[in-house]
């Protein structure tokens, strides 16, 4: 019983947040919805025994990334209300078509497999704790190369961001 509740509540919050993200008018509301989704996802990670990842998620995503988002929203998106009328020709038709196909596939899968996904491999019966030392033990030995590469990636991303947003107009001499 507790398992189900512990799953259902965060799951519902996740979906709620996602819906807020795509349907809200005010960009700040969108951002808040995203924060809600991210936080709920962290809770779900904890129930899945991935504690370290949950922490990192809260720190990085819901902390740094969302802050960035909010800054940029402040700079850009709050003034004009967005038009809801679709301007691109045929877009509505295509979108509804895609949704129909999506619904069709999903319902087909669901009905065929009887509300239960056909997982080809059986689950293991032991639980794996996602502790930092377990992660670090694999990360710094087996996966050291991708680790280094993403650090380079981060540096490059920073440099790129500065280069893109740099204001080349000469500043007034004070």
């Amino acid at each position: 019983m507790l398992d189900i509740v512990l799953f259902a509540v965060p799951a519902g919050l996740v979906i709620l947040g996602a819906l807020i993200v795509i349907f809200a008018k005010n960009p700040v509301h969108n951002a808040m919805g995203l924060v809600l989704t991210l936080a709920s996802l962290a809770i779900i990670y904890i129930t899945l025994n991935a504690t370290f990842v949950a922490m990192v998620q809260m720190l990085v995503y819901a902390g740094a990334v969302m802050t960035l988002f909010l800054f940029v929203i402040m700079m850009i998106g709050v003034d004009k209300p967005e038009q809801t009328r679709e301007e691109i020709k045929g877009q509505t038709f295509l979108v509804s078509g895609t949704l129909l196909i999506l619904g069709g596939i999903v319902s087909y899968v669901v009905i065929k497999s009887g509300l239960k996904w056909d997982l080809w491999f059986p689950a293991v019966d032991y639980t794996l704790e996602g502790t930092p030392d377990l992660i670090a033990g694999s990360l710094f030995t087996e996966w050291i190369l991708p680790f280094e590469i993403i650090s380079i990636l981060l540096i490059v991303a920073t440099a790129a961001a500065i280069a893109l947003a740099y204001d080349t107009k000469p500043r007034k001499k004070l």
Binding site: I88, G90, Q91, L94, V95, I101
Partner: protein, 629 residues
């Protein structure tokens, strides 16, 4: 001895080259000296060879110049037998006479040397044609004769009408040459050789079915060269050339090449019924049309041109009836009196200062007595009045036609009509020029110079006496041609009383024609008796315009061809082919334009496409059952 054959053929060519080389340095007298001497030399050698041939009982003499190909065997060879002997002597003899006349007629002309160069080239080509030993050499001569004729017709090339006439002659000739060429190819493919004797031996050995086709092809060639219907309209236009050239080419030699060729292939022709029918009907048609057209011509030379066409028709009638000897005999006599008539007309034109309309002449017999007398002899000869030459040959043709019986009685009757018309228009011709009292101013006209008169007198004498070489009492020509035509089925004259009756009828036709001409044009009997000839004006126009055949030909071929080619250029080339190419490129262009519209540059449409196809892929994946359980 045989090499003299080559000498006869090459002598005129060398003369022409010689005149061309020394052209800048010599004047008229020297050219005269050169050309007439070479012509005399040719004639002497030719007569000598002919006498030699007679002594050998007309056994053919061969001479091979060189071997061109060994397999199939094609040689460059000459043959001298009775047929080619007659033609050879005729050509060289007339060449001498006419060149003497030309020295006086063409004097003071600025292109004097050019004339004699072309003249000698023509004589060379004609000799090549008649003395050929196989079909190929004859074809060379055939083509060269056409070329020389073109050169001589458009001699005064600055004149637009002369140039056009030359073109017309050459083009219509070419149509005939096409037939000849196809015939040549057929001969080679069927018999494997061009040599006359070999071909004839094979034909006589076994009857082949495809002979009809060969014969018809050669007949088409003969039609082109000998101005038969429908390829005859070039000959009246060819009168643009100098008169002595017309005398040689369009009276005596080139136009008779067709007749000569058909007699040469008579061993093949005799087996083709369809060929003979075509020949005789066309000959008859031509004779009648030409005679009808000659009645109302105004130009002195055009009357003679139509007369030539008509007489050639007679020769073709003879060939069609199987009377090959009569055809050659008429060829010879016609050569003499037609050359005489042309040269006489040349003298008249020269003295009238190049006035050629006969209605502007009249009563010239008092001023040019000798010319009038000689032209009179020519007119009587052509009308078939005995004992002049034309009577014997024409009568032989008519009698031979009659002798065939059946439908040929009808042919005979129509030929008689043509003979009557011949007498009629020739009588009109002579009477209007020489006899009729007229208001025209002819006081300036005097007799022609002696150099012109001497050839006329010579030809006049020949016209009187040459008929005696082949009378029913002495078959001279037949004896000459006997060896050549020994394998051919010749139609002979009817015997006894029927021959005499036929002769009387044809003499009567001739006299009646002349008399009628005298009555109508001199005594003017029609208005005297107030006889109204129905549709007189229309008939006159019809005759003067050659039954509008010229206009018809122009309409169909010239305008029709131009129209067709314009249509093709615009529709087929412009619309269809260009359209096809342009359409292809425009299809690609338009379709690519339409496809490029899907590149909207919008992120959201790309997202949609992405999702759509990803879903399709997933659906595909689900729909195909995975092979593991």
């Amino acid at each position: 001895m045989e090499i003299l054959l080559l000498a006869i053929v090459l002598l005129p060519l060398l003369t022409a080259l010689g005149i061309k080389l020394v052209d800048k340095f010599i004047n008229e007298t020297l050219i005269n000296f050169l050309t007439i001497n070479s012509a005399l030399l040719s004639f002497t050698i030719a007569s000598g060879m002919f006498v030699l041939l007679t002594m050998e009982k007309f056994e053919p003499i061969h001479f091979t110049f060189f071997t061109w190909l060994t397999s199939p065997e094609i040689l460059f060879e000459f043959t001298l037998d009775g047929l080619s002997g007659i033609m050879m002597v005729l050509v060289t003899g007339l060449s001498v006479v006419i060149q003497i006349f030309s020295t006086s007629y063409m004097s003071q002309d600025e292109h004097y040397s050019k004339y004699f160069i072309y003249f000698n080239v023509f004589v060379f080509s004609m000799l090549l044609l008649v003395m050929s030993g196989n079909f190929l050499v004859m074809f060379f001569g055939w083509e060269l004769v056409g070329l020389s004729s073109y050169l001589l017709i458009s001699f005064w090339s600055k004149k637009q009408s002369a140039a056009k006439a030359g073109n017309k002659a050459f083009i219509l000739n070419r149509i005939g040459d096409f037939g000849f060429l196809v015939g040549l190819m057929l001969v080679l493919s069927i018999f494997g050789t061009f040599n006359y004797e070999k071909v004839f031996d094979e034909v006589l050995a076994g009857n082949e079915q495809s002979l009809d086709l060969i014969v018809i092809c050669f007949i088409v060639g003969a039609f082109g060269k000998s101005a038969q219907f429908p390829l005859f309209s070039w000959l009246p236009d060819a009168m643009e050339g100098p008169t002595p050239a017309s005398a040689l080419i369009h009276a005596a030699t080139m136009v008779t090449a067709g007749v000569f060729m058909l007699v040469r292939i008579s061993p093949i022709l005799q087996f083709s019924e369809i060929g003979k029918i075509i020949v005789i009907t066309t000959g008859l048609l031509t004779a009648l049309i030409a005679a009808f057209s000659a009645i109302n011509q105004d130009d002195i030379k055009k009357v003679l041109a139509y007369s030539t066409i008509s007489q050639l028709g007679f020769m073709f009638i003879a060939i069609g009836s199987g009377a090959y000897v009569a055809a050659i005999f008429h060829l010879v006599t016609h050569a003499f009196f037609k050359a005489l008539l042309f040269l006489g007309a040349g003298a008249v034109i020269h003295e009238m200062h190049h006035e050629q309309n006969i209605h502007k002449m009249g009563n010239l017999k008092t001023r040019m007595p000798v010319t009038a007398a000689m032209m009179g002899i020519g007119t009587l000869a052509i009308s078939g009045i005995p004992p002049l030459a034309g009577f014997w040959s024409k009568d032989e043709i008519l009698a031979s036609t009659f002798a065939n019986g059946g439908i040929y009685y009808g042919f005979w009757a129509l030929s008689l009509l043509a003979a009557f018309m011949t007498a009629f228009y020739m009588g009109r011709h002579w009477l209007l020029i020489f006899h009729k009292e007229t208001q025209n101013d002819v006081t300036q006209v005097s007799e022609a110079p002696k150099t012109m008169l001497r050839p006329l007198i010579l030809l006049g004498l020949f016209s009187i006496f040459i008929g005696f070489i082949n009378t029913p009492f002495f078959h001279g020509v037949e004896k000459v041609l006997h060896e050549t035509l020994h394998s051919v089925d010749i139609t002979h004259l009817p015997e006894g009383i029927s021959l005499i009756i036929l002769a009387v009828i044809s003499i009567g036709a001739g006299f009646t024609g002349l008399l009628l001409a005298y009555l109508i044009y001199i005594v003017d009997i029609l208005s005297y008796f107030k006889v109204k000839v129905p549709l007189k004006k229309e008939l006159k126009l019809l005759s003067a315009n050659t039954l509008y055949l010229n206009k018809l030909g122009d309409l169909i071929f010239v305008r029709g061809l131009k129209l067709a080619s314009r249509k093709t250029a615009v529709v087929v080339d412009g619309l269809m082919i260009d359209g096809l190419v342009n359409k292809t490129s425009s299809i690609f262009y338009n379709s690519s334009k339409r496809v490029s519209k899907s590149q909207t540059g919008l992120v959201r449409s790309y997202v949609v496409y992405f999702g759509l196809f990803m879903l399709l892929l997933i659906g595909l994946f689900i729909a195909t059952p995975w092979m593991l359980n």
